[in-house]
């Protein structure tokens, strides 16, 4: 057993906190396991320590893919220091560069003054997650983008788990007498195991039509990921994208990883980030896919800013037809999240009377709030 010093223990706890802030779900057991491997001396071998922590701290592929980079970012300094200590033992003592103590994620580090600023930039406050959840997707700077993606991934995952629990809740129906008696035959006719009839699952049919035109560019990516999460739990979910033309995306949602699917969709959708012809696209949806995906069992969700460049009359007629043929029509408009926004653009004005719900979808919080709306439909 290796005696692990207090500073190292603190650093390991800081690393655990650092991972938690990046949405790793870690409890005291993981920290105990990490101490256990440190005490066994695995820390002396960087790779062994890295891979061991990786096996303990990662709980899903998304964590696994990010871990190495996080480990390097956090532990490089430690291993560099250890290397320097070893060098110092061999070389004559040189005057150390001027350093100052900075606090990074609760741990004290001696860093050269020049690096102080860089380190300070990496420091994140406790309310970081709340701030990012409320940040409009279009206003996220490059520095925050990565954190926002990590946060979105975790929050969408939590949401999907809630969906799953609710959808699978109380699946047991009444006792199936016939099967119960049959089960009892092998047990001397005793009815020990009750067999239940399965409740008939309610079929939820949802159609998402996502605007991927230039004006929606900053939102499309997050909305796309949101829909992909929902796809896992709604067996009957159809997905279309449009800008100047309509594309049926559902057959492309087969990839195992979300990132791969997004790449795949990017390759296959020709009109990504181009102009907006909402009316024409919706008309195509009605004529080509209407028979299959428009009925009184379908909920249609259109995600668009409503900035129509085509004919407003065509748009109005298409929305009116969709509303008439489906159960519920929901319009999600990221612009609604803007302060003082009023749906006064010609396109929006013409469709407003036909909508059952008109909600915003501009940040993570607003997307998560849609959960209730979708569960109730």
């Amino acid at each position: 057993m290796l005696a692990v010093d207090k500073t190292f223990k603190e650093r390991l706890i800081d690393f655990t906190m650092y991972c938690r802030e990046r949405q790793f779900v870690l409890g005291p057991q993981e920290t105990r396991d990490a101490f256990a491997i440190a005490e066994r001396g695995y820390v002396l071998d960087r790779k062994l320590f890295q891979y061991s922590l990786k096996a303990i701290y990662c709980k899903r592929k998304e964590h696994f893919d990010r871990f190495d980079e996080m480990f390097d970012r956090f532990w490089s300094r430690y291993y560099e220091e250890k290397l320097e200590e070893r060098k110092k033992k061999i070389q004559p003592i040189k005057k150390e560069p001027e350093t100052s103590t900075v606090i990074f994620l609760g741990a004290k580090f001696n860093v050269p003054k020049k690096e102080k600023e860089i380190e300070a930039k990496q420091t994140k406050g406790a309310n970081e997650s709340i701030r990012l959840r409320r940040t409009d997707f279009s206003k996220v700077d490059i520095e925050d983008k990565k954190h926002l993606e990590e946060l979105a991934e975790e929050l969408f995952h939590q949401m999907s788990m809630r969906f799953k629990r609710r959808l699978e809740n109380s699946n047991k129906g009444s006792v199936d007498i016939r099967r119960t008696i049959r089960n009892g035959l092998g047990k001397g006719g005793l009815l020990l195991d009750l067999a239940y009839k399965k409740k008939r699952k309610e079929k939820r049919k949802i159609v998402f039509i996502l605007d991927v035109s230039g004006s929606m560019d900053t939102y499309s990516y997050y909305l796309l990921r949101y829909i992909m999460v929902l796809k896992k739990y709604f067996k009957s979910l159809e997905f279309f994208t449009f800008s100047t033309d309509l594309t049926h995306i559902t057959p492309l949602l087969r990839e195992n990883s979300e990132q791969e699917t997004i790449k795949h969709i990017g390759k296959n959708v020709n009109s990504w980030s181009s102009g907006t012809k909402i009316g024409e696209s919706l008309t195509k949806f009605i004529s080509v896919y209407g028979n299959k995906f428009l009925s009184q069992k379908h909920i249609v969700v259109i995600l668009s800013d409503g900035l129509e460049t085509g004919s407003v009359t065509v748009l109005k007629e298409a929305v009116r037809t969709i509303r008439r043929k489906c159960k519920t029509l929901v319009w999600l408009n990221p612009l609604k999240g803007m302060k003082d926004y009023q749906p006064i653009q010609k396109g929006m004005v013409s469709v407003m009377p036909h909508l059952d719900a008109f909600e915003s979808a501009h940040n993570l919080d607003s997307l998560l709030k849609l959960e209730k709306l979708l569960m109730d439909v």
Binding site: Y51, K187, G188
Partner: protein
């Protein structure tokens, strides 16, 4: 590299399984921290084979539980031997001490041990493979939690049965559904990816010593390029091996359009995928990759 991990890699290699350092570390921790290991990855990347090889490496028994929808306690943990209990009741009908009779028929002699109970009651630690856990229901995941964290099983009539020897537990999942956080938190985790080109050539030449290295390289290049295409079911290592075996059987030394047309069924298992490949020239899949 740590000596024990090096030895582990070597021993696995002798058992025809090529471990990389990262996966070897996870297996090493599985042995040393006594925590279950959850392996996720695409079908055919060698998750199940890892458990089989671990059992060979340790010279112990492998107990495998193949998961499916509807799996429950009676098929995985235990079930009372009702026929034997009824016979016992009949035989001792005249017994006056009913409590003693009840104690007798609810003893271990009347329990049919299923894989999970067998694994914790084995004299020597065994390797317990819970295969494709994502196919089982969520309720079954909940049953597993007690076993995975404390290596014990509670039977209402008998109380808690603690492990005589702690099994080495490997769970595999193809990610067809999300597993619960509670289950994940009790396990070490490793994502098993498709192997690199060099590693896959190693695997093929190790398993099929008679294969020509040029042909093995062609097979692997073809398969790696196929995996980059958007297929319904990308081929795994098992498919690479099957194809290489097929080509060896047919005495093929060079992959041509005709060969691909006739043998692609051993690689691709989906009609659309087969058509996709048949409509392309073999050269499109044989260009060199990194």
């Amino acid at each position: 590299m740590n000596k024990e991990i090096k030895a582990l890699i070597k021993d696995f290699y002798e058992h025809d399984y090529i471990l990389n350092e990262e996966l070897a570390t996870s297996v090493f921790l599985l042995k040393n921290l006594e925590k279950p290991l959850l392996l996720e990855g695409n079908p055919g990347v060698g998750k199940t084979m890892l458990a089989k090889t671990l059992a060979k490496h340790l010279g112990t028994k492998l107990i495998r539980l193949q998961c499916y929808e509807g799996l429950d306690v009676s098929t995985t943990i235990y079930e009372w031997n009702y026929q034997k209990q009824l016979l016992h009741i009949k035989l001792f009908e005249s017994e006056k001490d009913k409590i003693a009779l009840e104690n007798q028929i609810f003893g271990m002699d009347y329990v049919l041990q299923r894989p999970l109970l067998q694994s914790i009651r084995a004299e020597k630690p065994v390797v317990l493979l819970i295969d494709e856990i994502d196919r089982a229901d969520e309720e079954f995941e909940a049953y597993l939690l007690e076993l995975l964290s404390d290596f014990q099983i509670s039977i209402p009539e008998l109380g808690t049965i603690r492990a005589t020897s702690k099994p080495l537990v490997i769970l595999t999942s193809n990610r067809t559904r999300e597993l619960s956080d509670a289950l994940r938190r009790r396990c070490l985790y490793h994502w098993v990816d498709f192997p690199s080109k060099a590693k896959e050539i190693d695997i093929i030449t190790k398993k099929l010593p008679n294969i020509d290295e040029v042909l093995a390289t062609q097979v692997v290049t073809f398969i790696h390029n196929l995996r980059k295409s958007s297929l319904n079911k990308p081929p795994g290592i098992a498919e690479s091996l099957d194809w290489a075996k097929t080509l060896l059987l047919l005495n093929v030394d060079n992959i041509t359009d005709e060969i691909v047309h006739n043998t692609i069924g051993s690689v691709l298992k989906h009609k659309d995928d087969v058509e996709f490949v048949r409509n392309k020239s073999v050269q499109e899949f044989l260009y060199p990759i990194d």
